[in-house]
């Protein structure tokens, strides 16, 4: 991914985080982490917790605290990616093929299965937007998208940002009932194409996306309020120094592309 696109993605994500009080960022998420720190720079008082970081974390109660904190509604934003993401916003972090002996195995589900139900604004990201990653139906559900199944849930996806475009996520109103033997699968929500990044079009997105989605009436080219040069300046001066202990390789590549 080229630097201009990375800048655009970081700036767009940060715009979505404007109203955040507390943003938490998990593993392998350097671009969301950069966006969170940029949002913190713009809105003093915003708290950012980078998982695994000593300095960029307020947690003092060990690994469980992130999850307890989310359960109490004290985390407003979180980010997840996926080996695959489908149109019901199910995410797969486990692998491709039939579980358990998958053709392509990845690290595992991390905290996704849980946090997806607790954090009100989960932003999904995918930096390899294609019909291989954005699929009709995921091979393994690490974390389930919202359904009208009556299962307790406060959190879920609000958007999906890729290296080609940005989708909003539109949930359906909960109307379903609960079956005693487990959750009854009812209706799921839908992604809605909001904007395409420079160089992409409505047609190119359609070709590269494996799930069905809706679109806003006027799909625009993705843009941000601030000039990307000024975003770059803030990244260099403020964000990257704070990111270097958690993501040294990302920071090095940024500085010496």
């Amino acid at each position: 991914m080229d630097k201009q696109l990375k800048l655009l993605l970081i700036a767009r994500l940060a715009e979505r985080l404007r109203d955040a009080r507390h943003i938490a960022v998990g593993a392998s998420s350097p671009i969301p982490a950069a966006a969170a720190l940029l949002a913190k720079h713009r809105t003093p008082g915003t708290q950012v917790s980078l998982l695994g970081s000593e300095k960029q974390s307020m947690f003092t109660d060990g690994g469980k605290e992130l999850f307890d904190c989310a359960a109490q509604g004290r985390i407003d934003y979180f980010f997840f990616s996926g080996v695959q993401i489908d149109g019901c916003a199910n995410i797969n972090l486990v692998g491709r093929g039939e579980y358990p002996l998958m053709q392509e195995r990845y690290a595992g589900s991390f905290g996704s299965a849980y946090l997806y139900h607790h954090v009100p604004n989960v932003i999904l990201f995918c930096w390899a937007h294609s019909t291989r990653t954005l699929v009709d139906s995921v091979d393994f559900i690490s974390a389930a998208g919202p359904l009208t199944d009556g299962v307790w849930r406060r959190g879920g996806p609000v958007a999906l940002i890729t290296d080609r475009c940005e989708f909003n996520y539109r949930p359906v109103e909960p109307t379903g009932s609960v079956n005693k033997d487990g959750p009854q699968v009812d209706a799921c929500g839908q992604f809605e194409l909001l904007s395409t990044h420079p160089g992409e079009s409505i047609e190119s997105i359609a070709t590269q996306t494996g799930f069905e989605y809706d679109a806003v009436s006027e799909v625009k080219t993705t843009s941000v309020v601030d000039a990307l040069d000024s975003v770059d300046q803030v990244l260099n001066d403020y964000v990257l120094p704070q990111l270097s202990s958690s993501y040294p390789r990302f920071v090095n590549r940024w500085l010496t592309p």
Partner: protein, 294 residues
């Protein structure tokens, strides 16, 4: 000379590191206390990894270990899996973070050589908390709808018995490791271990039958005497063995002590992608203590 270079961290030199791994009799003695087939709790790379003892487990050809990642595993897991020491893994993920996929783990899972019991972070924490309290299970919100539930016959969804309306909720069983093994910055001569805010290490110690710890140093005095240090200290009550092995977490980092050694981790990942190269690489670490060729 291999050094870790994150600003503000103490550099780790390669000569000192060699002694951590090559024929370290302290590590060998501790590794001897972890029986074949044990349920063994290990910390993730960003917490406290007793890497010298992990290498000693490989040196003594440990077999049939059942690993619990608290809540995930990194280099320790990949090494033990690659060396054939592991039968099963209960963890939310096995990952080398910025260094990518854990090669030995991916190979072993794909071939069915180990049983991967896929979990999610809070289920591991809750299971250990259940063991802390000596209760059989813990309820947990969320997770329902995930395929994890389908494949874990030890998890159950029940209807919340305290609710008047239908309310499905997940129950997960206690996790009671036979051994917790980790590395920490310091301990005192009474066997109290300072872990600061890395309280998953405290949880591991509470939940496990035995707790084996290596530390950077044994300090004078008693860590429990000062409330400032006492708050982040595991009392010796929960600690079975504590020994000094300086740089014992190398090449991953240790909180409030040193950063990861990037060149060693790169060299590891490169080698671990090939079965033969992995074997040569690990033999070299065991015999010479070196994680890089330089």
């Amino acid at each position: 000379m291999t050094t870790s270079t994150s600003p503000g961290d103490t550099p780790v030199d390669s000569i000192a590191v060699a002694n951590v791994f090559a024929n370290n009799t302290v590590a060998d003695e501790l590794a001897g206390m972890v029986e074949d087939g044990a349920l063994l709790a290990l910390a993730p790379d960003y917490s406290g990894c007793a890497m010298s003892v992990v290498i000693a487990l490989i040196r003594r050809h440990a077999k049939g270990l059942h690993l619990v990642g608290v809540p995930q595993l990194g280099l320790q897991g990949d090494l033990l899996i690659g060396a054939g020491c592991v039968e099963s893994v209960n963890a939310a993920a096995v990952t080398l973070g910025e260094f990518g996929q854990a090669p030995c783990f991916v190979r072993a899972v794909s071939a069915g050589d180990i049983s991967m019991r896929d979990s999610t972070c809070p289920v591991i924490h809750a299971g250990l908390q259940a063991a802390e309290k000596n209760i059989p299970f813990m309820p947990l919100r969320g997770v329902i709808g995930s395929d994890l539930v389908k494949h874990r016959d030890d998890w159950q969804i029940i209807d919340n018995p305290l609710s008047d309306s239908p309310d499905p909720i997940l129950l997960v069983p206690e996790i009671k490791p036979e051994v917790a093994l980790f590395h920490a910055p310091k301990a005192d001569s009474s066997g109290n271990v300072w872990i600061g805010v890395r309280r998953e290490l405290m949880l591991m110690a509470h939940a496990s039958s035995r707790c084996i710890v290596t530390v950077e140093e044994i300090v004078d005095g008693n860590l429990l005497d000062d409330p400032v240090t006492a708050a982040g200290t595991i009392p010796s009550l929960y600690v079975s063995e504590v020994r000094t092995i300086k740089h014992g977490a190398f090449p991953v980092g240790l909180f409030s002590s040193y950063a990861e050694d990037t060149s060693s981790l790169k060299a590891y990942v490169q080698a671990a992608r090939d079965v033969g190269q992995f074997s040569d690489y690990v033999s070299n670490v065991i015999n010479s203590g070196a994680w890089t060729n330089s």
